[in-house]
């Protein structure tokens, strides 16, 4: 496999390995105030330290006048370094550039900042309420190139965007409903925790900027930096080697503008590598509160759904303005619901910025609606699997966006997962203090649409092949997967195919490596580029074979006249003998779509991910501790390109799902993160994982569609675990994570309630006797 050897010998090229001659190191001074005016930044003592080259503040950068101070993918709201105001604890205020990291760190501790504190707001509902402190009294400008996001910002309520989906007549639906369940569900802020923290090396020259970055969005970062420094796009070069994980946290510029600005100031290359503690406050998963009201008929049919999601976006918008769309349609869930009104608001607060995160808001939505659906099932006396079967979307159904859906396999995915987990056998089972039970859930998720990928495939005269792509390799295995796909298309040995790392000077445009889009979108682009190569090879071979190009075909890497396979020419030889140097094919895949932000109608996704999960858990009733014993997942994959890679992606989702369900939560106290270390913030270790798991990947090759697998397996996991915990204990938690303490409190409340009921019953007996 491509580069596999490097992976086990320590040679994988991460940004943190990258050195440039004369490179300096940087350490940031971060805000200790949640919301404050910056009155003074005292840097003299730090600047006088040995090895320190410069101490730079936001005011210093502003005074230069040669760069824009604000950046952000949609809204230009984030200062490179704080200028007048800080909006969260951890915001970069100043930077020390020094000859070595230790000197920078020692000096950074000596910078003093005077703050004039302002009223701060940390909870999104409070920030949304009238009279709340405002983060931006005036609306920030837009980045001109994110035209596909329509803004419905309301800065009087700290809202950076709102998205609404309306289908049918929701009031009529509720009027007709025989049972209405209305509740609030919460997911906390969490960290993506890529093991490699954000890292960048920036080398700014007066007319050119080169950045080696651990970004998932090289082309967007290039554009952001070009805008910031007033450079043409081709004077900004973004090079992305291997990433040590991304999971969304490395999408959109974060550390790159800082390092680039500092490099300009000192006239030398600058490396910035975040500490784990900094990583936790650089990009978070949105805390989200969902109010969900669902109306059903006695037979289990869902007839109305109304939902409001309040996203805690943190202090800066980042990608929240787009993310509200995913939550708004996501709250419909994978069910055929005739009457729907959902709305999502992204609300700014004085907490670290929230951005992209594996699952892109669908986790939080699924936690709400799959949790509630089990509650509804119980109140109707229906089996959880049965109520899902009744409501799951089927081929030809319309989604809440008005799109007619095809290739739906939800029911068979669910039936299979239920069977594999042993649904229908005795449940729950108690032995001593320990009780076991199972839970299921189903989720629908879109991919980013519209979107664009381009690629080039180059056939060399020796038959080897280069794939030039700007898809970022972050461990998901996109490079080996593309190598395999192109090799298959050309009919050559995958070992002959090399796939580039990203270099915007050399590798063609790709929108971004997020949203599980690469295998579909870049896979499509590289496929077309390979087809382009084959077309050119046929033309060249026709000359060599003295045949009509229309009669030349390529099979198993040989060009030949149709029907005469034996006389073929290896395609590399076609290149060599034609003396064209190489054959360069190009491919582009553009998807169209988009939703109206007031009604949610249109094309939400070029295709829809279908995913189910079934979990078996064990709960210690004395301690509340939950152990996931087994997990059975199922995802519609279209076509599996790389079976091992697909398995890896699904197990990766399980790590995130188990973490989200049981362990992971960023805990803040007045805006101060209190568990910003891996000793205090827990991610699943080997022993925390289920003893067994399996994922079924359903294919439909006739359809010819490849689905990305980075995310779809994730959203069903936490609700499946939550539903299993309920069946085991009778405790239905509405907020993640499912901590032992919450479970135990729930058990105590149930016990106390039962005792009260007994007391009432006793009294009743007395009255009657």
């Amino acid at each position: 496999m491509l580069d596999a050897r490097d992976r086990v010998t320590g040679r994988t090229p991460f940004v943190i390995n990258h050195e440039v001659p004369g490179m300096l190191h940087c350490r940031l001074v971060r805000s200790t105030a949640a919301h404050a005016a910056v009155r003074a930044v005292r840097t003299a003592e730090a600047a006088a330290q040995r090895g320190v080259v410069a101490v730079v503040t936001g005011a210093d950068l502003t005074a230069r006048g040669d760069m824009a101070m604000l950046f952000g993918p949609v809204l230009l709201d984030q200062p490179v370094l704080a200028v007048d105001v800080v909006r969260y604890i951890g915001e970069p205020v100043a930077a020390v550039v020094a000859e070595d990291p230790a000197a920078a760190e020692r000096a950074a501790a000596l910078v003093e900042v005077d703050y004039e504190h302002k009223a701060a707001v940390f909870d999104a509902d409070e920030a949304f309420a009238p009279g709340a402190p405002l983060l931006f009294p005036e609306a920030p400008e837009r980045d001109p190139s994110f035209a596909d996001v329509t803004l419905r910002a309301d800065h009087e309520r700290n809202v950076c965007n709102t998205f609404t989906v309306v289908r049918g007549d929701v009031e009529a639906g509720f009027a007709a409903a025989e049972l209405v369940v209305d509740d609030v569900y919460e997911s906390p802020a969490a960290g993506a925790v890529p093991l490699e923290t954000h890292a960048v090396v920036a080398d700014a020259r007066p007319d050119r900027l080169t950045v080696w970055s651990s970004t998932q969005t090289p082309y967007i970062t290039r554009r952001q930096l070009a805008l910031m420094f007033g450079l043409p796009l081709n004077r900004v070069r973004v090079i992305v080697p291997a990433l040590g994980g991304g999971f969304g946290a490395k999408a959109y510029a974060t550390v790159e503008p800082i390092a680039a600005a500092l490099s300009r100031v000192v006239g030398a290359p600058v490396r910035l590598h975040l500490t784990r503690e900094e990583e936790f406050v650089t990009m978070t998963k949105h805390a989200m509160r969902v109010r969900l009201r669902t109306g059903v008929m006695r037979d289990g049919r869902i007839v109305a759904r109304e939902a409001t999601a309040i996203y805690n976006a943190g202090a800066y918008a980042v990608i929240s303005p787009r993310k509200v769309m995913f939550g708004a349609y996501g709250l419909n869930g994978p069910y055929a619901i005739p009457n729907v009104r959902t709305e999502a608001h992204a609300v700014l607060t004085n907490t670290p910025p929230a951005g992209a995160y594996r699952g892109f808001a669908i986790n939080q939505c699924a936690w709400a609606y799959e949790n509630q659906l089990d509650e509804i099932a119980e109140r109707l006396g229906l089996d959880p699997v049965e109520i899902r079967r009744i409501n799951l979307l089927r081929d030809g159904d319309e989604f809440c966006t008005g799109e007619k859906l095809h290739h739906l396999r939800f029911t068979e995915l669910l039936d299979s997962a239920a069977e594999r987990i042993g649904w229908g056998t005795e449940d729950p089972v108690q032995v001593g203090d320990v009780v076991r039970a199972k839970g299921v859930s189903c989720v629908i998720e879109g991919t980013i649409t519209p979107s664009t990928s381009t690629a080039a495939v180059r056939l060399n005269p020796d038959g080897s092949v280069d794939v030039l792509t700007s898809s970022v390799e972050m461990g998901q295995g996109i490079r080996p997967a593309l190598a395999g796909a192109v090799a298959r298309r050309l009919g050559v040995d995958p070992e002959l195919v090399q796939v580039s790392y990203v270099d915007t000077d050399l590798t063609p445009y790709d929108q971004q490596t997020t949203a599980s889009r690469s295998m579909y979108s870049m896979g499509g682009a590289t496929g077309r580029a390979a087809d382009d190569v084959l077309g050119q090879v046929r033309e060249l071979a026709a000359d060599l074979l003295e045949a009509d190009p229309a009669d030349v075909v390529v099979t198993n890497g040989r060009a030949h006249v149709a029907g005469i396979e034996g006389d073929g020419i290896p395609i590399g030889d076609v290149v060599a003998r034609s003396r064209v140097g190489n054959v360069l094919g190009e491919g582009t895949l553009v998807t169209e779509g988009g939703l109206d932000p007031f009604t949610g109608q249109g094309i939400g996704s070029v295709h829809w991910h279908q995913s189910v999960g079934a979990a078996e858990v064990e709960v210690d009733l004395a301690t509340g501790r939950v152990t996931v014993l087994r997990y059975a997942g199922g995802v519609f994959a279209g076509e599996v390109i790389d079976p091992v890679g697909a398995q890896h992606q699904c197990e990766g989702c399980l790590v995130f799902g188990v973490g989200n369900a049981l362990l992971e939560e960023l805990v803040f106290d007045q805006g101060q993160l209190v568990n910003g270390s891996l000793a205090d913030y827990m991610v699943p270790a080997l022993e925390d994982m289920p003893a067994s798991h399996d994922f079924e990947l359903v294919e439909d090759r006739e359809q010819g569609d490849v689905h990305g697998l980075g995310e779809p397996a994730l959203p069903p996991i936490a609700p499946a675990i939550g539903n299993a915990v309920y069946r085991a204990t009778g405790v239905r938690l509405h907020s993640l994570p499912i901590s032992p303490e919450k479970v135990l409190r729930g058990l105590r409340e149930r016990r106390d309630a039962a005792r009260r009921d007994e007391t009432v019953a006793d009294e009743t007996v007395e009255v009657h006797s």
Partner: protein, 299 residues
């Protein structure tokens, strides 16, 4: 901060002399895990680092007169695997085997973990239940303290800055005693304990309790032992009701901390549960050893 000097003394006396000379501004290094962390986080900035690495005689484990002697430089891994510890102090072997993770156990030492006095640690409770004594050497010579007097609060010991822990003496458990150390984690399996309980039980053939020792760790500022409660259980059968009474007493009298691993309420509940479970486990181990005439307890 100027760079600290680094010393590798060859004797305990030399090390003490260095610490004394630096008058509190030198840091002693054993396994170095906790100190490296504190240095990286700039919580300390010593003028000197005094490594015990080259001091001979601090890394041994032996038994003498019914007392297991654990050298201060014995690592957690060594303590957990040592035949003498497993045979005579199985509860300590278990506690050392559950600290942190394999890499930390390979570096962290018996002396270091006690000198650090981190409340959220496993060995202190086990050593308290075993009536361990800490030996420390300072400018005035050697002194010996029961662990209950050594650990006085959150990260606080009675060790003077110029004193060095050289050894921990732990009376071997009688072969008929059963013991258990149970660690409760409230998050990842690799988390530090939310509550840890060490229990030692010895009973007569008729089930009458002859010795009960229970130490609760990680729930409060330092490990908790209630000797009056222990004594109250001696002389009568340690049946389920008696065990529950002991657990209740600990739960009522503990002054629990609140942190990311659990609220005070939860900790109190867990003290009840895990004292009960640890005493039950120790009782079962005692029955097992009594029946089988085997040494130690299988945990």
């Amino acid at each position: 901060m100027s760079a600290p000097a680094v010393f590798f003394p060859r004797t305990v006396a030399e090390a003490v002399e260095l610490l004394d000379a630096y008058d509190g501004s030198a840091k002693l290094v054993a396994g170095g895990t906790a100190l490296t962390l504190m240095l990286q986080q700039r919580l300390v900035s010593p003028e000197a680092l005094v490594s015990l690495r080259d001091v001979p005689g601090l890394g041994g484990t032996s038994v003498e007169g019914g007392v297991v002697r654990l050298g201060a430089l014995v690592t957690h891994t060594q303590a957990a695997r040592h035949a003498l510890v497993r045979a005579h102090l199985p509860v300590a072997a278990t506690a050392f085997s559950l600290v942190g993770n394999a890499q930390v156990r390979a570096a962290a030492t018996v002396g270091g973990v006690l000198a650090e006095a981190d409340y959220a640690s496993d060995p202190p409770a086990a050593l308290l239940a075993l009536d361990a004594e800490v030996l420390a050497v300072g400018p005035g010579g050697e002194r010996r303290m029961p662990i209950a007097e050594f650990l006085v609060g959150f990260y606080q010991t009675t060790l003077a800055p110029e004193e060095i822990v050289t050894r921990v003496d732990v009376p071997a458990l009688p072969p008929t005693a059963g013991s258990a150390y149970l660690k409760h984690t409230s998050r990842s399996h690799e988390d530090r304990p939310c509550v840890g309980v060490a229990a030692v039980v010895r009973s007569d053939g008729d089930g009458t309790c002859r010795d009960l020792r229970v130490a609760v760790g990680a729930a409060c500022d330092r490990p908790l032992r209630l000797v009056d409660v222990e004594a109250g259980a001696v002389g009568s059968p340690l049946d389920d009701a008696a065990v529950e009474a002991v657990a209740t007493a600990y739960a009522e009298r503990v002054d629990p901390v609140a942190d990311v691993r659990g609220s005070a309420w939860y900790r109190r509940e867990m003290v009840q549960v895990w004292v009960r479970r640890a005493v039950h486990a120790a009782r079962r181990a005692a029955e097992h050893t009594t029946n089988d005439q085997r040494e130690g307890a299988v945990l």
